[in-house]
Amino acid sequence: MKRNRIAIAASALLAGASMLLAGCQADTSGLDDKGFKPHLTVDLQLPEQLEQGQEGRFAIVVKENGEPYDGFYQARFQLWPEDGSSAPVTAQAEKTAPGTYSFVQAIGPEGVYRIKFSGVSADYEIMPSKRFAIGSEAVEALAEMEKAGAAAAVPAPAGHHH
């Protein structure tokens, strides 16, 4: 009887100490091997054929931890010309497969365009966008834009020390 009491007391003490120690430790629960919290990965896909006046299907595949993610309460696409010559077209994204959202839209006159997906859920928020060009002049303009974007990449900030 006495031994049992000692065992119970020791177990309780051990459990208490474990809980106390666990409370002292850094909370890394839910982080992956890179130290990232759960997050979404995206693959924004442009139509295979980008042709003026033709309908094209834009799609995005969204995954969480490698699995299709369907948790958005708001999912929409926006398409607009980069020169602002016309207003953006906004449309609700259509879920076409698990974790896959699509949008079909006819592409207007020649120019550089931007397609953007906005997805909001209780846990996540994403807003990836891509450019594409219709017409040879626009293709050259797009190439210049991307070159300029790469050149304008910010140099690494200086380190901090106390």
Binding site: G23, A26, G35, F36, V42, I134, V154, H160, H162
Partner: protein, 466 residues
């Protein structure tokens, strides 16, 4: 110094027989030598630290025209619009980071690079005008911080000297408390209250050294201990201990501790343009890569993730970099560091104070206390009190020493005849040397100097009272 032996001079009362007097004598010798060597550094640390404590108030006045707007407008420009306005005024400017203020009267601080020179720029968020620039390395706080951490000198050595002085500051405080500890009949005067009746005599200076040192000892110990986690050698050991016990920060807790890479990869068509390189016809259409999200969108993410202003948004470093959102000047418990994928806007890491391990929490609170940021003006005044006290204690000890030292002699306390005491204190010092590696190294250097030089030269032996 104890009340009993306060008036002791080398070779008189301190030569009393017995282990305890010998122990006292030995501790006094260590306290004396450490004080002679490190008091000037401690004065320097106190002066620079005392000034740095009031950085917000002093810089607020010194750089008032840069830090505050001339007139608070109706609507603040968005970060992107403000950045564009600043770039228009200064073409070729690369913005590395911008700090969005919480106060409506504050300008927006930007870390920029122009012509390869890093500069801090302040812009008016209502007009988009540049209020002015500051050389980040030459601000009031930067100069005093450099004095406090590396004596205004370049390289690692000055920083190690500062760490060594701080560690010996700990030893001085502990040995000083031992010397102060009342022995024999207790008297309030000379123990808890200074005897200032005869200004200028040795007792006056002794009490001006020992009594404030006792009252301020906890504060001084706290300030030294809270500064050491940032030191080069001992700080590294503390970090290792925290990592080994998993009581440190989770990964990516601080913006300056490195950032991950974006998980979304930009597809750069500019890098692969066969038609441009090989004189082929330009295609009729082309897909582009991902476009980075805007700073406005990053600010929106920060606000929706309840990051408290002021916070700093640091731009991605290159095509694979991430946006970093980090709180600036926040109370420790409000601190947040987030890394955001620059193409998708997904939050990859989000580390808050609640997730820190116990050591990281203590260190973070300690640093805030050390810098006078933990509990406002009271914290600053407490820090100032410790700094002024440390200056008084250190300067007073020099006056006391000069008054006591015989002409032509160092005036060091004599070595106790009881070897057990010397060895005992040496063992304690060795333990401290293990705990504080730079103290250990300096002990080895002192012992080597003692055995190889001082003991072999009679004049030096006499001068050092060996």
């Amino acid at each position: 110094m104890s009340t009993q032996l306060a008036g002791a001079t080398p070779g008189t009362k301190a030569r009393q027989k017995g282990l305890l007097p010998a122990l006292y004598q030995s501790v006094w010798r260590w306290h004396f030598y450490a004080g002679i060597i490190f008091a000037p550094f401690l004065i320097l640390l106190a002066v620079s630290g005392g000034a740095y404590l009031f950085k917000p108030q002093i810089e607020g006045q010194l750089y008032k025209d840069l830090l505050t707007v001339r007139e608070v407008g109706q609507v603040r420009m968005s970060p992107d619009a403000l950045s564009a306005a600043v770039r228009k005024e200064n073409p070729g400017l690369a913005i590395q980071s911008l700090t969005l203020p919480s106060d409506a009267r504050s300008t927006v601080k930007m870390s920029v690079v122009q012509g390869g020179v890093p500069t801090t720029l302040y812009a008016d968020p209502y007009t988009g005008k540049i209020a002015g620039t500051l050389d980040s390395d030459k601000t009031f706080s930067a100069v005093f911080k450099k004095l406090h951490s590396q004596l205004l000198l370049p390289g690692t050595l000055p920083n190690r000297i500062v760490e060594l002085a701080a560690c010996w500051g700990l030893v001085l405080t502990v040995t000083g408390l031992y010397l102060w500890w009342p022995r024999g009949r207790f008297s309030v005067w000379g123990t808890l209250l200074p005897r200032l009746g005869k200004p200028g005599n040795r007792l006056f200076w002794r009490d001006l050294h020992a009594v404030p040192a006792f009252w301020l000892s906890i504060l001084i110990l706290a300030l030294i201990l809270t500064g050491l986690p940032w030191s080069g050698v001992l700080g590294g050991q503390i970090d290792k201990a925290a990592n080994a016990t998993n009581t440190n920060n989770p990964p990516y807790a601080y913006s300056f501790m490195g950032a991950p890479e974006s998980v979304t990869r930009a597809k750069d068509i500019a890098a692969d343009l066969p038609w441009a390189a090989e004189s082929l016809p330009v295609p009729a259409s082309a897909p582009g890569g991902y476009v980075p999200i805007t700073v406005d969108e990053v600010a929106g993410i920060a606000d929706r993730q309840h990051v408290q202003r002021p916070y700093t948004i640091t731009m991605p470093s290159g095509e694979t970099g991430v946006y970093t959102i980090s709180t600036a000047d926040a109370k420790p418990w409000d601190s947040a560091t987030l890394h955001v994928d620059q193409y998708s806007g997904t939050v990859l890491t989000d580390v808050r104070y609640e997730q820190y391990g116990v050591m990281a929490k203590l260190i973070t609170l300690g640093i805030a206390f050390h810098e006078g940021k933990l509990f406002g003006i009271a914290n600053q005044l407490l820090g100032l009190l410790a700094c002024l006290g440390l200056i008084l204690i250190s300067a007073g000890s020099y006056v006391m020493w000069r008054k006591r030292a015989p002409a032509g002699k160092l005036g060091a306390p004599n070595k106790p005849r009881e070897k057990k005491a010397s060895i005992g204190v040496l063992i304690i010092m060795a333990v401290l040397g293990v705990l504080m590696p730079l103290v250990g190294l300096s002990l080895l250097a002192v012992l080597a100097l003692d055995w190889l030089v001082i003991r072999r030269v009679p004049a030096l032996r006499r001068w050092f009272a060996v």
